[in-house]
């Protein structure tokens, strides 16, 4: 088995790899961080959105007279007042063409609403109360239309079309070998259908922002977002040049993909432009849960074939996802699902057929794990059942079949970095320790394992890039400027550590300015587990070049060759101990006209769009591999599942800040537990029944154990210092690991999420009727 390669430069690193408080931690512990809703401006108006109560209806009339006439109302807007009422929703922040994946929606509904909560009108008023009252006074006449609320029904002939072009939104296929022949020859074939559900990001900070028109006619929007490059979308809707809209991204109170698509930005732009006054818009929790896209539900049909010794021979997968009423990022989410559906295993014969359909359900789009995470339930449930059928150890089966460096995915992409499947499975399982005894005679204890793979970085044909400016002030302190939105994952702080490492200063000598589309070099989106990889490489590149520039000057001052000068403790140091302080060095740079800054651009490996079916090769820059092992206790009388232990092991390549890495793993794993056990947006014929945090259940501290992170540092990631992204990967394995542990405990297989006590009770035959 491949051993984790030793990281060669570890002992030389001074700042990278150190467990440091993030630079934003002090402000957050004192609540001095000004989030989007905390921003106030003189004369500020308050914006609000009127939304459709129906999942499918025709709008026959809108009368805004009474709402607009209410004293204190500054503006009421309907689709008629929106200069360009189309909002493009594909690949946020993307500047290159994306071909057939273009997706769009109406900013405000014109004559048709397709989901409950679709925006119909906007109001700006002097107080939130007046705005709320004005919404109630806008008269909209709806004529309800037949709708379709299930993706399978949506694809049947005669289903009510959600859009004119039909209900099949996108499809992808992968073909590798001859899967049917391989299944026919296989010693065992395990076949199952799995279902997963709508969930919500449920970050604690609801969507919010403030917009104003600046002195030079630039609309400034300060909003909670993962994508400051939505400034372009606002400009397009308003019909303004792109350089007349500026987005500022404050620290975000959680994103998880839910602030990747546009939320309040366009509405704020419209209202501020119309009223020429500052406007604030803050969505209530109820509005947030009602109106914003969810995670895609999938139906996953798996047929897995293996030989007698456990060697996988075939994986045949059919996927159907529910896009809800609009496309948003569904086509791409489906592609992530398609590429990863066979799991982190070698199977010579693979066929994946994936489709996503429109329905009149809430729209679905990006969420942490982005299609790849839903697949884990399928392929890891299958692995356990193969092991069970062949009476093999579940760890052994994964080690035997796990992908290795040099192997190819079914799409023929070669894995050219360390693949930690086998190591992660063994280390996660090994860390569980001795099995606990059940707490009562009614309880049963069981264990489960689940591995996963998750891409980091964007699809290669998007030609992703990120830029960062790194410079010294004359006193030797360091400034980073980069357009990175920080969503709470420590994005900005890790960049400070990278710059401090390269430039030989302590991290507290580094200041970072982030996420301003007018003033910081653009760095792309904080999505797709890409910021440490992309902007980390941009900062690394900028800092390295800057180091080179000033070392030349230091070399002259110290009268030795540049390659013998080191930067440490805010000084340039010669091997004999002579040193020049950064202050002196900067003075000399200024005198000589040597720049004290560098604008670094990192371009990810790029490629052309590939035909997945024919095996196009590289789709993603690289992948992160991991494994979770859980021990659960099941109450055999009620079906309640308690997670007793949870070990989460991932190859992060290099932990720039181990504390941040652990936090990402623990938080992601707990979000995965919520997904597996309790969270669900219940949708009844298009009507969302989970529009409060009392109804939409996210885990409390009593519902989850302490997740124990096990960090593999292979040093082989494509990020700075060999790092891999770790934002999304930990959310993948928990649901499948629990399903596997439940079968181990009580002998029943749960195939549908969330694994509620009632589902377990029914599987046990405790509840039969109703």
């Amino acid at each position: 088995m491949a051993k984790c390669t030793a990281v060669s430069r570890t002992e030389q690193l001074r700042v990278v790899g150190r467990r440091l408080p993030r630079h934003d931690a002090w402000d957050k512990a004192q609540a001095r961080t000004l989030y989007a809703a905390d921003w106030q401006m003189p004369g500020m108006l308050h914006g609000a959105v009127l939304r459709s109560p129906y999942p499918s209806a025709r709008i026959t009339r809108i009368d805004t007279t009474r709402g607009a006439g209410l004293p204190g109302v500054a503006a009421v807007l309907t689709a008629r007042e929106v200069p360009h009422n189309t909002l493009w929703t594909d690949v946020p922040g993307q500047t290159s063409a994306v071909g057939p994946l273009r997706a769009h929606l109406q900013v405000l509904a014109e004559d048709r609403v397709r989901y409950q909560g679709e925006p119909v009108a906007l109001v700006a008023a002097q107080t939130p109360e007046i705005a709320a009252q004005a919404l109630e006074l806008i008269e909209v006449a709806y004529e309800e239309q037949p709708g379709v609320f299930d993706p399978e029904e949506a694809l049947r002939p005669g289903a009510p079309p959600v859009h004119e072009e039909g209900n099949l939104l996108a499809r992808w296929q992968v073909r590798c070998g001859d899967v049917d022949a391989a299944l026919a020859r296989a010693h065992v074939v395990v076949e199952h259908t799995y279902r997963c559900h709508f969930i919500d990001h449920a970050y604690l900070e609801p969507e919010a922002g403030v917009a104003w028109v600046d002195a030079d006619g630039v609309i400034v929007i300060r909003a909670s977002t993962q994508v400051i490059e939505h400034f372009r979308d606002v400009a397009e809707v308003l019909g303004l040049p792109h350089n007349k809209v500026r987005m500022i991204g404050p620290y975000v109170g959680g994103g998880f993909g839910g602030k990747e698509d546009v939320t309040v930005e366009v509405f704020l732009g419209l209202l501020a432009w119309r009223t020429r006054r500052p406007v604030r818009m803050v969505w209530s929790r109820q509005e947030s849960l009602l109106a914003r896209p969810k995670r895609h539900p999938f139906i996953l049909r798996y047929r897995t074939g293996a030989e007698r010794d456990g060697t996988l021979v075939a994986q045949k997968v059919e996927l159907l996802a529910d896009s809800g009423a609009y496309a948003f990022l569904s086509a791409l989410v489906l592609m992530y699902a398609t590429v990863t559906a066979a799991g982190p295993y070698r199977a010579p014969h693979v066929a994946v057929d994936a489709r996503v359909a429109y329905t009149n359900n809430p729209p679905t789009s990006a969420m942490r794990g982005f299609g790849a995470m839903q697949m884990v339930l399928g392929y890891e449930s299958q692995m356990d059942q193969v092991a069970r059928r062949l009476d093999l150890d579940p760890v052994e089966l994964r080690v035997r079949n796990g992908l290795r460096k040099g192997d190819r995915l079914p799409i023929r992409q070669e894995l050219d970095t360390y693949v930690a499947v086998a190591e992660a499975a063994q280390r996660a399982w090994g860390t569980l320790g001795p099995r606990r005894a059940p707490s009562t005679p009614h309880h049963r204890v069981g264990r489960g394992l689940a591995c996963n793979l998750q891409p980091y970085g964007r699809i290669v044909w998007l030609h992703d890039w990120a830029s960062a400016w790194v410079g010294f002030e004359t006193d030797g302190s360091v400034v980073i400027r980069t357009g990175v939105p920080d969503v709470g994952g420590g994005q900005a702080s890790s960049l400070c550590q990278i710059a401090a490492e390269v430039l030989g200063v302590e991290p507290d000598r580094v200041s970072i300015h982030i996420a301003d589309s007018a003033l910081t070099p653009l760095a792309g989106t904080t999505t797709a587990t890409r910021q440490l990889y992309m902007s980390g490489n941009a900062v690394l590149h900028a800092a390295t070049q800057l180091r080179r520039q000033i070392l030349d000057v230091a070399a002259q001052m110290l009268e030795i060759p540049a390659d013998r000068v080191d930067l440490q403790e805010s000084s340039a140091v010669a091997p004999d101990g002579r040193r020049v302080s950064l202050v002196q060095l900067m003075r000399e740079c200024t005198r000589l006209g040597v720049s004290r800054s560098y604008l670094g651009v990192y371009r990810a490996p790029a490629g052309d769009p590939v035909d997945l079916e024919r095996g196009g090769g590289r789709v993603f820059p690289d992948y992160t591999f991991g494994a979770h092992a859980v021990e659960v206790e099941v109450d055999s009388e009620t079906g309640a599942v308690t997670v007793l232990r949870h070990v989460a092991c991932h190859d992060v390549g290099r932990a720039i800040n181990p504390q941040s890495v652990e936090g990402q793993i623990q938080g992601g794993a707990v979000m995965g537990l919520g997904y597996g056990l309790m969270e669900e947006v219940v949708v009844d014929r298009g009507v969302n029944l989970s529009t409060s945090l009392a109804a939409y259940l996210i885990p409390t501290s009593l519902d989850v154990p302490d997740v124990e992170p096990v960090i593999i540092q292979s040093g082989e990631g494509k990020g700075p210092f060999g790092a891999r992204g770790i934002g999304e990967p930990p959310i993948g394995p928990p649901a499948a690991a629990i399903a596997n542990a439940i079968e181990d405990a009580i002998g029943v297989r749960i195939t549908e999420l969330p694994i509620t006590p009632e589902r377990v009770a029914r599987a046990l035959g405790l509840v039969t009727n109703g």
């Binding site: 109360e129 209530s284 309640a640 309790m678 029944l689 519902d703 509840v767 039969t768 109703g770």
Partner: protein
């Protein structure tokens, strides 16, 4: 979102409060701890013209003990019940049930009377009062009446309270040795309303058999439900995990739960049985122990 504007009064005396309720009968909402009413106001699900805030009526926070009866003022807070402050320690069942309510913030402000008057079918305290055969003291300018718990809870969020009436106190029996109580709650998530909760009060005879059992359930009907038939069948049973399960297994429970997004009716029915057996088991064990 802010609530729809209303007229607000915070009377300093009970009689003042009752005058306000009479003057605005039908338009006024009394506000106790506010942990149920305020969210209904700010979500605009309730739009009363007048709110009568009771928080200055400290007389309603008093607890008295008299002839084996504990009379608890309606404004006694969940935190006080949870801590078993003062005389409240005479009712250990309240001490066991209160920590199950919501979160620490709800318990800081939420009151016994507020919970009972709100009458959420999934709430813990109405089931506790029902299991204890408590009496609710209602007062208006027309006078005072004592209503048994079985008559107080009328339907979902509906009680016997008239628009001009205020729940001012609850009377609960104080048990001696030989009686034990327990609450078993099942919720989807820590601190949430019960999917089902079962409250059991068991009195043992000198031979250690069940002399009398009382069981009330939350979450299985519009009001807290007593299991009269099961209670009868439990008399004479020698307490054990098996005997209680056996006693409950043979019969249909007298409940008609409904399905919602958190659980089906059939599952609630199943839980009612399991939780009741567990509550009986623990209550019997408590009955066998000397009272603290």
């Amino acid at each position: 979102m802010p609530a729809v504007p209303f007229e607000y009064h915070a009377p300093a005396t009970l009689s003042e409060a009752l005058e306000l309720l009479q003057a605005h009968a039908g338009d006024a909402k009394p506000l106790a701890g506010g942990q149920s009413l305020v969210p209904m106001l700010t979500l605009r699900l309730a739009r009363p013209a007048v709110v009568v805030d009771l928080h200055r009526l400290h007389e309603l926070e008093e607890v008295r003990r008299d002839n084996g009866v504990l009379e608890i003022g309606a404004l006694a807070r969940h935190r006080a019940l949870e801590r078993g402050e003062g005389l409240l320690s005479a009712c250990p069942l309240l001490q066991e049930a209160a920590p199950l309510i919501g979160n620490v913030r709800v318990r800081t402000l939420g009151t016994l009377g507020g919970s009972l008057a709100h009458a959420d079918p999934a709430a813990e305290l109405p089931a506790v009062v029902r299991a204890l055969d408590g009496t609710l003291v209602l007062r208006s300018l027309r006078g005072e009446r004592a209503v048994p718990a079985q008559d107080f809870f009328v339907g979902i969020l509906t009680t016997a309270l008239q628009p001009d009436e205020l729940l001012i106190a609850v009377r609960l029996p104080i048990f001696g040795p030989g009686v034990g109580c327990a609450v078993e709650e099942f919720s989807r998530r820590a601190g949430d309303f019960a999917i089902v909760a079962s409250v059991a009060v068991v009195e043992l005879d000198p031979a250690g058999r069940v002399a009398r059992a009382r069981v009330a359930l939350a979450g299985v009907g519009p009001t807290p439900q007593r299991l009269a038939g099961a209670e009868e069948a439990l008399v004479g049973v020698q307490p054990s995990a098996e005997t209680f399960r056996k006693a409950l297994a043979g019969r249909p429970l007298e409940i008609e739960p409904e399905s919602d997004i958190h659980a089906s009716a059939a599952y609630r029915h199943h839980l009612a049985r399991v939780l009741t057996a567990r509550a009986l088991e623990r209550a019997s064990a408590a009955a066998g122990r000397p009272i603290r």
